[in-house]
């Protein structure tokens, strides 16, 4: 092709200047009229086709946080210097990083891949895992484990049978082949997710503190090297545009969804290659290519550095013919990274990539100027200040209004719902509860995930938290839990988000680790709906205020808007992930009973008559209304202190947090996990129904070896934590007896608890 022919089809910068009135398809690319006008204003001309593609993807809700930015600042405002003490990197980096001691830095983050997972459950979920793992890798850390938090429609709904098995196979297929253990997560069924499932994946990684890598491109003359998979047509306008567009479920969809395709083997090799590059100290800066692909990586690296950047798109290795500059820039092909490398290290860099058979290509360099210049077929197709693409996107103050329906919802208290009272009714209720979709065993899911690979998994599902050993010499490790009860959030977004934090915090403490940091994944409906923005603002403030009170910072996270079908939003779902540190993983507290002969069971915390948003109200009556359980963060902190002290001093042989389903659920799970019988004696005068099924927060069930009981209960009394002796573990028995209420064989409980998911999905 001659250069004249090329210039006829290439929209160069010169061409854009010469043809200011050329009509551009900005609306189809997702830009609003005023946003397009702003691009023209920033450039002083119309953008080229390639520039337009870059601005469109980078200014999408998914990449620019344009609706949430003004609210997310609140996290920074509520984080004190004391909370920042162990923070090595926070919000704004690829992932937050914490100093956990012994010279180790741990990084963790959760991210959503909701919309692609509805369109194509397997690939959507798989690439969700792949993306979050690369975020962790880009910090310089070795990824160590993943978790997944899944929300799908009602269990019996036909489409749930398409979505859930596909998502689980995708999470497993990618993570298993990548060699990362899956150490926990959630699966929640609710009809609000039927047309918009949530797939939130979390990854945790570790590095020596001195190896921390931040994404920036400094030093004129340094080379830009693109490495990993070749760039193709998959995922163009994928995550970024898809995630910013409501599923309208009817006609009129212009954008064809194109979910990225994952290759976990390529990612595994990329991880090992990157870690070898880091160890060889041949990387100045690095970024992964996720949403918005090269457009994002080049503009973010350049704007974080101290110069400009020039890129030659003709050098980008492609796997499809005739890709346009805009397509190359916005492709979301997976398993790619972009590094900034000093010229003297390029040869060694390329040699390491060759050892791993990883394609690596020098595509440009850092320049003296302050613009990002991209050429294609010898023509300049992009010439922009990189900050305008990466950081100067639109910022919206969306209207916020408390929905009128909120008062009705809260007034619809569960007090008048018929409660079981006879022994037979209570027995039947317990079985119905443990066999319900949300409370039954997740084994069908977790059995499809490798939890052993890498040899560091100390606790995994169905434990309260996942725990991995970080240091084989000192046995230092971390524990993680992700939680959210979105029904609580619907009833009261502020308190609901605090309850999500409290549950994750409690779960981490129940395994013996001290909670130190938080990540979140804020899944909500359309930000253009003032009621949704009210939920969002309330939840965000609730979470930030609670973090400040508990003294643990939010170090990273993700916002996912437009989770709705037509005009109906999902239940607001601010997923909270808490990470804790444990000095010696050998002191972890297991969830199952029966690790010691002769255990006394104690219930810690206060039980109130609280059924608003409870699993019981949902299962027995399909009811959602009233107020969620009371939040008492001081009580949560005290409970956590007691659990951690119990672990440190070897006073606890098992612990299980009380949450969905209440005490009954906790007893059944701990007995089944430990394959051990137990005898429960409810506190005198307690209403058995409330004692068994209330979801009051700030509680845990613990097993204490008889020899430790006086010391442990004395500690609780002295520190003012309510406790009650509620039974004993009986290793000889194969039944769970709730005295005066009912008796169940372990076999009956196991069949009821483990049966539902295989029956639904096998």
């Amino acid at each position: 092709m001659t250069s004249t022919e090329v210039s006829q089809i290439v929209d160069t910068v010169d061409n854009a200047i010469a043809t200011p009135d050329h009509e551009q398809p900005y609306r189809e690319l997702g830009l609003k009229d005023d946003e397009y006008a702003r691009v023209r204003e920033l450039l002083g001309r119309r953008p080229t086709a390639a520039e337009l593609a870059m601005y469109a993807v980078m200014w999408s809700e998914h990449c620019s946080y344009k609706s949430s930015k003004v609210h997310l600042r609140y996290f920074g405002e509520t984080t004190t210097d004391e909370m920042r003490r162990t923070m090595l990197a926070g919000i704004g980096e690829n992932a937050g990083v914490l100093d956990i001691g012994d010279g180790w830095a741990v990084t963790f983050k959760a991210e959503s891949h909701n919309h692609p997972s509805y369109v194509e459950p397997f690939q959507g979920a798989a690439t969700g895992v792949g993306g979050i793992v690369r975020d962790i890798l880009a910090m310089g850390a070795r990824p160590l484990a993943v978790m997944d938090s899944l929300r799908v429609g009602a269990p019996e709904a036909p489409d749930t049978k398409r979505v859930l098995p596909g998502v689980v196979a995708g999470v497993g297929g990618y993570g298993n082949c990548l060699g990362l253990p899956n150490i926990g997560g959630e699966v929640v069924f609710d009809s609000s997710y039927a047309g918009n499932p949530l797939v939130n994946a979390l990854c945790v990684g570790a590095m020596r503190i001195e190896d921390l890598h931040l994404a920036h491109a400094s030093g004129a003359g340094n080379k830009i090297i693109l490495f990993g998979a070749r760039t193709g047509l998959d995922g163009i306008g994928g995550a970024s545009v898809l995630a910013s567009d409501t599923f309208s479920g009817g006609t009129g969809r212009k954008k064809l969804p194109s979910v990225q395709v994952g290759d976990p083997f390529a990612e595994k090799v990329l991880i090992e290659c990157c870690l070898e590059l880091f160890a060889a100290k041949v990387v100045v800066g690095i970024s992964d290519l996720g949403a918005a692909g090269l457009a994002c990586a080049t503009s973010e690296l350049a704007s974080a550095g101290d110069g400009g950047m020039s890129i030659d798109l003709d050098r980008v290795p492609l796997r499809a013919k005739d890709m346009s500059a805009a397509e190359i820039l916005s492709s979301e092909s997976q398993e790619r990274m972009c590094a900034v490398v000093a010229p003297e290290h390029v040869e060694e860099f390329l040699a390491i990539c060759a050892k791993w058979d990883v394609t690596a290509t020098e595509i440009g360099e850092v320049t003296e100027g302050d613009t990002l210049v991209i050429t294609w077929h010898g023509h300049t197709v992009v010439d922009v200040p990189p900050r305008t693409v990466a950081h100067d996107g639109p910022v919206y103050h969306r209207p916020i209004a408390r929905p009128d329906t909120q008062d009705t919802l809260r007034a619809n208290v569960p007090d008048s719902l018929a409660r079981p009272s006879t022994k037979d009714e209570l027995r039947a209720t317990l079985l119905r509860m443990i066999g319900s979709a949300n409370l039954s065993s997740r084994r069908w899911v977790t059995q499809q995930y490798d939890r052993y690979v890498r040899g560091g998994t100390v606790l995994a599902q169905p434990s309260d938290s996942g725990m991995i050993r970080i240091d084989e010499r000192t046995n230092r490790g971390v524990a993680l839990s992700v939680d959210c009860n979105s029904r609580y959030v619907a009833l009261d977004p502020y308190q609901g988000a605090q309850l999500a934090l409290a549950e994750a915090y409690r779960n981490v403490a129940a395994s013996g680790a001290r909670p130190v940091a938080v990540t979140d994944c804020l899944n909500f409906g359309s930000p253009e709906d003032p009621g949704v923005m009210w939920q969002f603002e309330q939840a965000l403030h609730g979470l930030a205020d609670a973090c400040a009170e508990l003294g643990i910072p939010v170090v990273g996270g993700n916002v996912s808007f437009y989770n709705q079908t037509g005009g109906t939003a999902i239940l607001p779902t601010p997923l909270v992930g808490v990470m804790g540190v444990i000095d010696d993983v050998r002191r972890r507290i297991p969830t199952g009973f029966g690790t010691e002969p002769g255990e006394t069971l104690l219930l810690l915390g206060e039980t109130r008559d609280e059924f608003g948003g409870s699993e019981w109200a949902h299962v027995a009556h399909g009811h959602l209304g009233g107020l969620p359980p009371k939040v008492d963060l001081a009580a949560e902190a005290l409970l956590a202190d007691i659990l951690i002290a119990g672990s440190r001093d070897g006073m606890l042989s098992a612990a299980h947090d009380l949450s969905d389903g209440g005490l009954a659920q906790a007893v059944v799970e701990a007995a089944l996990i430990g394959e051990t019988g137990a005898r429960i004696v409810l506190p005198e005068g307690a209403d058995p129904f409330v004692a068994l099924f209330s979801e009051s927060a700030g509680r845990a069930l613990v097993a204490v070896p008889r020899s430790e009981e006086p010391r442990f209960t004395e500690m609780c009394t002295m520190r003012g934590l309510p406790w009650a002796r509620i039974g004993v573990v009986d290793r000889e028995s194969d039944s769970v007896e709730i005295q005066g209420v009912a008796e169940f064989t372990l076999a009956e409980l196991r069949e009821t608890w483990e049966g539902p998911l295989p029956a639904l999905f096998d």
């Binding site: 060699g179 290759d263 090799v269 939890r451």
Partner: protein, 224 residues
């Protein structure tokens, strides 16, 4: 000279570090062997670890069986060197012809990760001599393609010659005759789907029963 056990790394090997950890747990030096390098670096035995070598985009283990390092492993095994193939390593040994049969997609079509009680069916191999015949050991399985198949005559021969090394007590994948692991005719090459390297410490695995395989081969090597 002190004993050395090699652990092969292919691109896509996942449990190589874990196999090396198990070797070190019995106080033997673990030597890393690279797929593209035919040099076995003076090791006395070799472990082919789990994973998805080269992505397993052809048949599981098929490409790995042709790697330069495998040509050396096959030659060494024919010369009497003990070789253990775990999971993907078992698939590689079958593909390379050192062990009979093949591993196909699990009967349930799902990846399955769970702790399995295995029966040691033959304590006469280089990798099982520390166990009592018929002992039951708790070892995790985690695989997608773990269903062992062979023609009826081969299965009969394996049974007759005492070459079924391990059997599942609760078959997780549909394997013929509940076979979890087999040995070659010499008893020095063993392959199994379960992961003994993930059962070396009750802290990170369901038991420490897996150490028995590594201690068995150490006995052989020290005696030799």
């Amino acid at each position: 000279m002190s004993t050395k056990i090699g652990v092969v790394t292919f691109p896509g090997s996942l449990d190589d570090e874990d196999a090396a950890r198990a070797v070190r747990a019995i106080e033997v030096e673990a030597v890393s062997l690279w797929h593209a390098d035919a040099d076995l670096r003076g090791v006395d035995a070799v472990v082919i670890p789990g994973g998805f070598s080269y992505g397993d985009y052809l048949r599981a283990g098929a490409i790995a069986s042709n790697a330069p390092v495998m040509r050396s492993v096959v030659a060494a095994a024919r010369g009497g060197m003990p070789v253990l193939g775990i999971c993907n390593g078992f698939q590689v040994l079958c593909e390379s012809g050192l062990l009979p049969g093949a591993l196909i997609r699990n009967a349930g079509l799902h990846f399955v990760c769970r702790d399995e009680w295995l029966r040691v069916d033959s304590a006469d191999t280089a990798w099982t001599s520390r166990f009592a015949q018929g002992a039951e050991i708790l070892i995790p399985v985690k695989h997608m393609d773990g269903c062992y198949v062979a023609d009826a005559e081969t299965v009969r021969r394996l049974e007759g010659e005492g070459r079924v090394a391990f059997r599942y007590t609760d078959n997780p994948n549909g394997s013929a005759a509940d076979i979890a692991g087999v040995a070659d005719a010499s008893g020095r090459v063993v392959g199994l789907m379960p992961h003994p390297e993930h059962a070396i410490d009750a802290l990170t695995g369901p038991s420490d029963d897996g150490l028995g395989l590594f201690l068995s081969v150490l006995d052989q090597l020290v005696r030799a």
